[in-house]
Amino acid sequence: MTQTLLEIRDLHKRYGAVEVLKGVDCTMAQGEVISIIGSSGSGKTTMLRCINMLEEFQGGSIRIDGQEIGYETVGGVRKRKKEKEIARQRAMTGMAFQQFNLFPHMTAAKNIMLGLMKVRGMGRDEARSVAEKWLDRVGLLSRIDHYPGQLSGGQQQRVAIARAIAMNPKLMLFDEVTSALDPELVNEVLQVIKGLAEDGMSMLLVTHEMRFAYEVSTRVIFMNQGRIAEEGNPKDMFVKPQTERLAEFLKSSSFN
């Protein structure tokens, strides 16, 4: 087994009285591509968002490359790390969102360059050439000076992925990145992700694209009611699910 990249231990998350994550354990090695599937409300997106502290969590721990994310325990008291430290830790992961969330007042190039210059400390020219490299990679070099409003949904999502990946993260998080796209635009985004997987990028994908999860993942996690209900390699999971809940879920989803 290669080096451990991500280690989640007994993750608990509550919104008020409602517990949405009821103790999640998950270990991920460098270079793995894990798809997280499950019905809405199962906690899969919440789990993803805890990994880069877009959500607070009340119990358990998350480690990336051995570093404890978000919280530290000093003298038996668990407290949130300093905002600056959390920002630094967030830069270890990259994230692509369902709604793209490109900065609308910046061109594709500027969207990518912002983090490179302000977080990675690159100069303008260096940042620009990194932006060019990644836009070329997602097939949008010709759109480098376009604003998000001038791009289609699929193109926006590809720029958003380029923005995240250009930061050279250890781990990429994809949160239902094709859910807001017109059906004919889904494929171009999936192709980009597939290419990254082939490059050996470590990735966690929350997705409803069962066919894609089946093809691209090294492992699949099925979540149900705030817990991991079943996990394994895609073949076993999709072909002969062990739990009734997963079998039911697969039957109702697009995969067949």
Partner: protein
């Protein structure tokens, strides 16, 4: 209407009228400037402040916005002197208008910031930006575009509100005009003329706002 006689009087009174116009413009400019700077902080406090800070600032804006500007002007001139703060009419007027302006700008800024989708902050966080960086590069520029049209409106309101300073004896355009009318009895002509000057100021502000809007528009 005796046009030649009016032009004659207008020429004779050109210096005081120009001075009045200058004072009106200074009052408006200063109170818009101070009010906007204060207002940005008010807006930030309303949006991102800790709860107690939010409550205090919310009380401030609600109180100011619910008070007639004239009352604010009179209060800062007459009431402040009773507690030992002696401001001249000009300073007192600027203070009142700035405070009035800040509460309006504060609401504009709050509204503009809250209208930005949450995903923007999340995307900025996700690439590792700190909050100050997120504000400067991501939220601020978007809020600015959002708030600009309403801000131009507020600026024009401030120009109109500057006339209220005539009540406490600031020799701005309206007071100069009234003095002139009491001497010449040409009320219609000179009120018209003053009205025209106010229109020119406000129209310029509006054109300037449009120009900035066009310059900063995001292509789509």
């Amino acid at each position: 209407m005796d046009i030649p006689a009016f032009l004659d009087q207008l020429w004779l009174a050109r210096i005081p009228l120009l001075k009045g116009l200058g004072v009106s413009i200074s009052i408006s400019f200063l109170s818009i400037l101070v009010g906007t700077v204060l207002g940005v902080f008010v807006g930030l406090a309303l949006t991102y402040g800790y709860r107690p800070v939010q409550w205090i600032v919310r009380g401030y804006t609600d109180f100011i916005r619910g008070t007639p500007v004239l009352v604010l002007v009179l209060a800062s001139y007459y009431v402040l002197s009773t507690i030992g703060i002696d401001l001249g009419p000009f300073q007192a007027g600027i203070l009142a208008l700035s405070i009035f302006c800040s509460s309006h700008v504060g609401e504009l800024v709050r509204g503009a910031l809250q209208a930005i989708p949450k995903g923007q902050t999340e995307a900025a966080k996700a690439i590792g930006l700190t909050f100050p960086q997120t504000f400067v590069y991501v939220l601020g520029p978007q809020a600015l575009r959002q708030a600009l049209p309403a801000w131009v409106n507020t600026a024009a309101e401030m120009v109109k509100a500057s006339t209220l300073l005539s009540i406490i004896g600031v020799a701005e355009l309206l007071l100069r005009t009234q003095e002139l009318i009491s001497r010449t009895f040409m009320s219609l002509e000179f009120y018209f003329f003053a009205g025209f000057l106010y229109f020119v100021i406000n129209y310029s502000i509006e054109r300037f706002g449009r120009y900035v809007e066009r310059k900063t528009a995001v292509p789509s």
